[in-house]
């Protein structure tokens, strides 16, 4: 029983850490960033590379990945997304192109493979991320073996959610961002540098994807296409949770995680996945604004 609940919690935390960044970029800025999953992938590869070339440990990779993906996110925003604000579905198409680019960049080792060079840690193949010994195992609570790695994910996910909440609701930057979410024109009129704020927010959202990438890399497989399924899940979570509602994202990921865990336990993972899709559709049909919504852009 505890096992099942914990699994559900863990699934939720994974959805959360992936969706968190989207909650900012989509929820707050009205950009459907299909490249988000591939930014997660980049985060995972950052872990691989920093391990090989900088001999950094697993946790040391987290800030590195955050910075790297945040920079990439910044570039995406400056070069592409900024021209598309208000054109929600166009952002989807453009970032889909970005997604393809990122995958190919890694697969072709940023072009090195054309010249017959091989950069260790890149390329088409699977990559390895070594995880600290102490994280490969369990500890016991109330007679149940609890998976240390997953516990770590839960903690980190919640930490970053809290951090994001503080940024959004307890800092002037956050206040400006929320002003922009509600009414960009008005915000601009009030002297908020909307342009700059958008860039920052997008970079931050992308950075979160990087963090997610590090966490994934330790117990999922690292390869160029690992991101695509993630972005779908994250996107569903954000929409179900309610566009622009951080709490909604938290709740939705928790809910979907538990449903998935329970159904998988009583029947099987495939049905669980089917049920999740069903639930998502039902929620959108009967509550299009999401579980916890307020008017965003």
């Amino acid at each position: 029983m505890i096992d099942t609940l914990f699994t559900g919690l863990s699934l939720g935390s994974i959805l959360l850490i992936v969706a968190l960044g989207l909650a900012i970029t989509y929820g707050a800025m009205g950009v459907i960033n299909m490249a988000h999953g591939d930014l997660v992938m980049v985060g995972a590869y950052t872990t691989v590379m920093s391990g090989i070339w900088l001999h950094l440990g697993f946790f040391a990779a987290i800030p590195v990945a955050f910075v790297v993906t945040a920079m990439i996110g910044l570039a995406i925003e400056r070069l592409i997304v900024r021209h598309l604000y208000g054109r929600l579905l166009d952002t989807l198409l453009a970032t889909w192109g970005v997604a393809i680019l990122l995958q190919q960049a890694v697969r072709l080792e940023f072009g090195a493979s054309f010249f017959g060079r091989h950069i260790e840690g890149l390329g088409t193949g699977l990559q390895k991320v070594s995880v600290p010994e102490w994280m490969q195992g369990t500890f016991t609570i109330a007679g149940a073996d609890i998976n240390i790695y997953r516990t770590m994910i839960i903690v980190v996910a919640l930490l970053f959610t809290a951090l994001t909440w503080v940024l959004m609701y307890r800092t002037p930057v956050g206040m400006q961002l929320r002003a922009i979410m509600r009414n960009p024109k008005m915000a601009a009129a009030c002297g908020i540098d909307v342009d700059r704020m958008n860039a920052l927010a997008f970079a931050y959202g992308s950075g979160l994807a990087g963090v997610a990438g590090v966490l994934m890399s330790g117990f999922k497989t690292v390869f160029p296409d690992m991101g695509t399924p993630l972005v779908v899940d994250g996107f569903l979570v954000v929409v179900v949770g309610g566009v622009g509602s951080l709490f909604g994202t938290l709740a939705a990921s928790g809910l979907l995680g538990q449903i998935n865990g329970v159904v998988a336990a009583v029947s099987n993972d495939i049905l669980a996945r089917a049920v999740i899709f069903g639930v998502v559709i039902a929620i959108i049909v009967f509550k299009p604004s999401g579980l916890f919504s307020y008017k965003g852009r």
């Binding site: 699994t7 088409t124 070594s130 117990f219 390869f223 160029p224 690992m226 865990g261 099987n268």
Partner: protein, 422 residues
Amino acid sequence: MRIDRRAFMKTGLGGAAALASPSLLRPALAADTIDVGVLFSLTGGLSIIEKSLHDATLMAIAEINASGGVMGKQVNAVVEDGASDPKTYNEKASKLVIENQLPTVFGSYTSASRKAVLPVFEKRNAMYFYPTYYEGFECSKNVVYTGAVPNQQLSNFIPWIIKTLGKKTFFIVGSDYIYPREMAKVCKILIEKNGGKYVADEYLELGHSEWGSMVNKIKASGCDVVLSNVVGDSVVAFYREYKNQGLTHDKLPICATVTSEIEIAAMGAEYAVNSYTSFPYFMAVDLPENKSFIERYRAYVKDPKAVTHHALCCAYFQVYLWKQAVEKAKSTAPDAVREGVRGQEFKSPGGDVKVEAQNLHTWLTPRIAQWQADGQGKIVDDYKSPIFPLPYAGYGETESNLICTPNGADKAKLKAALAATK
């Protein structure tokens, strides 16, 4: 691209021509070379494996050319990208067979892609060399199957698990598609025959990497061995979750039919130590051919850490089988190759292999390896010589009573076999 400059130039031009006007491609055929098709996914999710098969194929071709080619002619690879998508596979196969009029194509990793190209090769009577272990139940006269079929991975594996390891209660888990399901079917037959039992037969979406619930089930199932038919990137997540949940292969070993050097390297050996895999080829196979093969391959792909694996080995030696077939038949024509390849033998990195004259599947040597801390398998059990490939083992096909014959699958026997299970 990692193909030699000559081929690069020639096919480069050929490809460009294909762009401008399709009919311009003919000269490439007229030239003093033998063209063959190479069709693996260089982009998309499956390229994680297929790229290595692609490289192995081109390496074999390069070696053959270096040693004088086939019948004195250089072999020229016309490379296409299957893009991990059956639609693309089907289209590229049509291009290679009909547009480029290539009598022989080497390609495919998944059954799905093979099934998608099959109609082209059968309607147009061209030969397809398929290097991957697969589920069997196929008997095309246009395909040479050089990978293992279930009986070559399981016939010794299951008895060995039960008798030698002394594990009797199986938990069968696999990815949700035909190969793992067929493996499971054959496993069950063998398990019951050898006095074991299975407590579960579970599946997970292909490419699914969330194992929390499944491993919980394994814990709760009371099994004493896990038989894994999990394929692709899911494998890594599986083994990691397994250890992260406190299971050890010493007590509850995973015995796998697909987990290869690739996945072990990707997950980190510590997660797989003392688990087992059954394959006809491992890097650890102690043969001089293998040692030099590994070195040559690593040099070829310019990656000193590159790993080799079963499908890769097959992708490599099947080119040589084709070479021998052409030289025997003195022709590259499909029918000639088909007849020529029957009974062809070759000293592969994995030991002797032979194409069975009856069903165009390949004799291979089943081996069982226990994974070590260095990421290599230690071969703990193997046949002394290759064994007969039985694609219809699931139907009780035997050497003496073949269902797949040179005239295709024998429907009557098929029906009889099924009726017999009543």
